[in-house]
């Protein structure tokens, strides 16, 4: 296998981006172009979802509603949640960065089913167009769509259900493609234990996507059936059970948080060794912990429903299992920190975001036990404590991991380097803004402030004002980061094939890669973490 600094391919500068015209994008079979289209789409929805968040924080500056009606506020938090979850955070790393880099990482020319890949993108587009269509009668159910409210709501719930069904199909097709790609298309010599950890993470993610998503598909199908055909699975008047909706919904929606976090953790496992110049510590532990998280993650959905009237025994079982998902997660954190030991650490933007991930995800993760323990869950459920917990894990975790991946792989995807100084400025604003926005929510949540409240009682006023100020700083940081990306695209310095002196196979391809990725499929003779040996 080629060592550092000896790329297998040097491109003509444009690589996979050479061919122009909308048809070359709309009908492309190139996983890199499909990944890029997903990235543009998901980042767009991240920004739109973020705008809704800022509107919420604006309204929450005052205890009584001032700028918007209660109904408008309720629509905003529904759209914020639904867009962020279904149109951004689930697809962004897997379908965006995953599509781009999985074939490169395993030394293949493309995914197993390139046409299915293109189909998955267009199904995604169809899904979000339908969802946008549902805005004629916007949802105010919350992103969780609990029945009976969602079944009775005058909003376009049926349309939205169809849109989400399509988004789910896109997710399943992507996961299916990745599973087959990872099993069947690895380069010669790449055994399972020579795969990059990003691939292990994506493999576990794809398994979850494939198994969990159909269930939420049926959940929404039955909701649509209740509205259209009058079936009564969730309707107490017909003998149905509104809590059945919650069971079906969370059977998917809990594992899906691992779809969100595992790819980000994969990115962290890639970045830390490169910027510490040391092999990853505990490769097998990290690899298998991804599978353990995926497996245990399917068994704990009831912890979203401890106050829904489930029997104490059921609650106890779910609580017990919930705690065990923390163990493989903690294992990863310990191994990443151990990787830093006696390293040679530099703090370029990918590493800043990776270290930030570990820090903020630790906060999010360590606030989990409060919610997993039954007695404290009863107090904290449906309060801002939960909102803080999942923003620390999803934004402090996944989004920071996503930013790390974008900064790390920007040179490879675009052939240009980012301005490091601006990147670090943006990082600082994001870090400060994020913590100010969300840490206060732990406090008001502990004091009893319920979530999804357009109006709140005055004793929560101060923390809400502080949180809103934080959100403004966070927004500025994100805008600076986006501006930096656009500037990089237009006038970034040309990037070498391997600017970070990294060992995984994508750095053996040109920056940006040629359409066929590698002139010759590489033969792999060792794992991609041989830093710290005389060779590096």
């Amino acid at each position: 296998m080629a060592g550092i600094g000896h790329p297998v391919a040097e491109g003509n500068g444009r690589g996979y981006l050479a061919e122009r015209g909308w048809r070359s994008w709309a009908f492309t079979l190139d996983h890199k172009r499909i990944g890029a289209m997903y990235l543009w789409s998901t980042i767009f929805f991240f920004l739109v979802g973020g705008v809704f968040a800022l509107l919420l924080r604006l309204e929450l500056l005052s205890p009584q509603t001032r700028y918007f009606s209660n109904h408008a506020y309720n629509v905003f938090f529904t759209l914020h949640g639904a867009m962020m979850i279904f149109l951004f955070i689930i697809p962004a790393i897997p379908s965006g960065l995953g599509n781009f880099f999985i074939p490169l990482h395993v030394g293949a020319r493309d995914v197993a089913f390139p046409r299915l890949n293109l189909a998955s993108y267009w199904v995604f587009v169809a899904g979000f167009l339908v969802i946008i269509g549902s805005l004629v009668a916007p949802m105010d159910t919350g992103w969780t769509f609990y029945t009976p409210y969602s079944a009775k709501s005058a909003a376009a719930v049926t349309t939205l259900s169809l849109g989400l069904f399509l988004i789910g199909m896109s997710s399943i097709l992507t996961g299916l493609n990745f599973i087959v790609t990872i099993h069947k298309l690895r380069a010669p010599g790449m055994t399972w234990h020579r795969m990059p950890l990003f691939i292990w993470g994506m493999y576990a993610t794809s398994i979850i996507q494939v198994i969990a998503t159909p269930v939420v598909g049926v959940t929404f199908l039955l909701l649509a059936a209740e509205r259209l055909l009058g079936v009564g699975f969730y309707d107490p008047a017909k003998g149905g059970d509104p809590v059945l909706f919650q069971h079906f919904f969370w059977f998917y929606s809990h594992p899906v948080v691992y779809v969100m976090i595992l790819p980000a953790m994969g990115i962290i496992s890639e970045v830390i060794p490169v910027f510490s110049r040391k092999p990853i510590f505990g490769y097998k532990a990290i690899a298998y912990s991804s599978l353990a998280i995926a497996f245990i993650g399917f068994l704990v959905w009831g912890h979203h429903m401890f106050t829904s009237g489930m029997s104490p025994l059921a609650n106890a079982i779910f609580s017990f299992l919930t705690f065990f998902v923390a163990v493989p997660t903690a294992v990863k954190v310990f191994n990443w920190i151990a990787t830093l030991y006696k390293g040679s650490i530099t703090f370029e933007s990918p590493m800043l975001y990776a270290l930030t991930f570990i820090f903020l995800f630790a906060v999010g993760g360590l606030t989990g036990p409060f919610l997993g323990a039954l007695a404290t869950n009863v107090q904290l459920h449906d309060t801002y404590f939960v909102v803080a917990h999942f923003h620390y894990t999803m934004m402090g975790g996944t989004v920071m991991g996503f930013f790390a991946g974008l900064h790390y792989w920007f040179p490879k995807m675009t052939g240009k380097m980012l301005n490091e100084k601006i990147a670090r400025l943006a990082w600082a604003l994001v870090f400060i803004g994020f913590n100010v926005t969300f840490f206060t929510m732990f406090i008001v949540g502990t004091r009893g402030m319920p979530r999804r409240y357009a109006e709140y009682i005055p004793k929560f006023h101060t923390e809400n004002v502080i949180s809103t100020i934080g959100s403004a700083v966070l927004a500025v940081g994100i805008l600076v980061m986006c501006w930096n990306f656009l500037q990089g695209l237009r006038k970034g310095a040309p990037a070498p094939a391997d600017p970070w002196r990294a060992l995984s196979l994508e750095w053996r391809a040109a920056s940006p890669p040629e359409t066929e990725n590698f002139h010759e499929i590489p033969v792999v003779t060792e794992w991609p973490y041989s830093y710290g040996t005389p060779k590096s």
């Binding site: 996979y16 061919e19 048809r23 070359s24 994008w25 009908f27 492309t28 079979l29 190139d30 172009r33 020319r109 493309d110 197993a112 089913f113 390139p114 299915l116 399943i172 299916l176 493609n177 599973i179 087959v180 099993h183 069947k184 298309l185 494939v210 198994i211 969990a212 998503t213 159909p214 269930v215 598909g217 049926v218 959940t219 199908l221 039955l222 059936a225 055909l229 009058g230 079936v231 009564g232 699975f233 017909k238 003998g239 149905g240 059970d241 059945l244 079906f248 059977f251 359409t515 066929e516």
Partner: protein, 196 residues
Amino acid sequence: MSGTSTEHHDPAVAFESAKLGLWTFLATEVLLFGALFTAYTVFRMKYPELFRVEHAKLDRVLGAVNTVVLITSSFTVVLGVDAIKRGKTRLLEVCYGATILLAAVFLCVKYVEYAAKFHHGLYPRTNLFFSLYFVMTGLHGIHVLLGMGLLSYVIVLSRRGRLSASYYTPAEMSGLYWHFVDLVWIYLFPLLYLLG
């Protein structure tokens, strides 16, 4: 179309990939129907009397006929796949044609059943048993229809000379899908029609 065709140069890898892909897809279908079977179990345990009374209103004869029809159609599919493995495209087309025909019979019988139910005022909204009956058999029926489309596509491919003894992946994959559709019915039939 832009982008190089990234079809794998090694047909064995391509075939293995297609098989793994299809089995993974079938896993998703198991979960899809599994959620409905879970709903069935939940409500059956909650309302045993309702299920006992209502299930008797289903036509067991028609249900049995459909079961035989579908099992036969799986048999014709097997014959078809076997045919193309021996390079016999014409026989494949005949067998798959027969499968599509049997599928159409299945759907016609379902139409007759549904019409009869509506005639007697039994709709999806009538009670939980019929909600389950219509939703589960309806979703299954959609899968039968999609299967008919797939099988037709395979026939088209064969007519265009694209299938042979060395390349029959579409035939085998659609055959596997068809067996799954059959299998779901094998579970649906006793659960809905027979269990008292």
